[in-house]
């Protein structure tokens, strides 16, 4: 009797997603991916640092940085990390509607950041700095452009969560999905924290 019960318990309580680390495979995969992303952005940042003064007689991006404007963009992205964790927290509490609102707010703040980047790129272009103008501009547009693409992909993921929520497919049981998208979003924010300091604030000699 007791053996049968124990066997039955083993079968009924078996969690197909349980791992011996206690961390789901999806979450582990996202963290591994983020680890590799550190190498990608490390390469792009290093390249920019090496080329930032190489203007070949033309204007380089550091000459025309608009720090007050970029500071506002940075603040917006930083606050989007707050709205992202609030979306997860709301969903974990079972408040699906509030979670949807925070997800939408996060996507909108991401959109504001991208809008700021488009404005910055446009103003650089008007000042005569294009992608192929000099090595410094190529490195700058590649680095910040790659980051912008990451933010844009994040916005798409957030909007797909909003749509899933509207369709009733995002429930408290799916909180881990929101957490994984959140990990990606926070990583994008972390990369910008680095770019903002190293690229924009530390003066070129």
């Amino acid at each position: 009797m007791s053996t049968d019960t124990a066997t039955a318990d083993t079968h009924t309580e078996h969690d197909p997603h349980a791992t011996n680390t206690g961390i789901s495979n999806n979450k582990l995969a996202m963290w591994l991916f983020l680890g590799t992303e550190c190498l990608l952005f490390g390469g792009l940042i290093s390249t920019y640092l090496l080329y930032k003064t190489r203007g070949n007689g033309t204007t380089v991006p550091t000459d025309i940085f608009d720090i007050p404007f970029t500071s506002v963009s940075s603040f917006v992205l930083l606050m989007s990390s707050l709205t992202m964790v609030l979306a997860l927290s709301s969903l974990q509490r079972g408040d699906v509607e509030r979670s949807r609102g925070w997800l939408l707010t996060t996507a909108m703040l991401g959109g504001v950041f991208i809008g700021g980047q488009v404005y910055e790129f446009t103003s650089f272009y008007r000042e005569g700095i294009g992608f192929t103008t000099n090595p410094a501009s190529s490195a700058f547009f590649t680095l910040t452009g790659f980051h912008g693409v990451h933010v844009s992909i994040g916005i798409l993921m957030l909007m797909s969560l909003v749509v899933a929520s509207i369709q009733g497919r995002l429930k408290p049981q799916n909180a881990e999905t929101v957490e994984i998208v959140g990990l990606y979003w926070h990583f994008v924010d972390i990369v910008w924290i680095f770019i903002f300091t190293v690229i924009y604030l530390i003066p070129a000699e």
Partner: protein, 106 residues
Amino acid sequence: MSETAAVERPDDHADDHPSDREYIKIALILGAITAVEVFTYFESVLNWGAFLIPSLMVMMVVKFWLVARIFMHLKADGPVLSRLFGGGIMLAVAVYMIALLAFNFF
């Protein structure tokens, strides 16, 4: 009980996550640090001299650490993920510091 009962499930750490109030507190700290960073840009207000770059680097690391530990839940999720992510960062820093040294950046 069965052996599987001892195995943690994906959301077992959800209760360990910080409260909304703590998240807001961290966001305010991040905002304040960003304000100080931007303040350093206006050298006419205060000349930071040789302390400028070290100060900016420290503030950047603090912001990085707060987002990773609190918002990304590394504090609550145990050491495995911290080692994975920390390993990636350390590897990237080591590889690119060597690359920058090789190109006489410093």
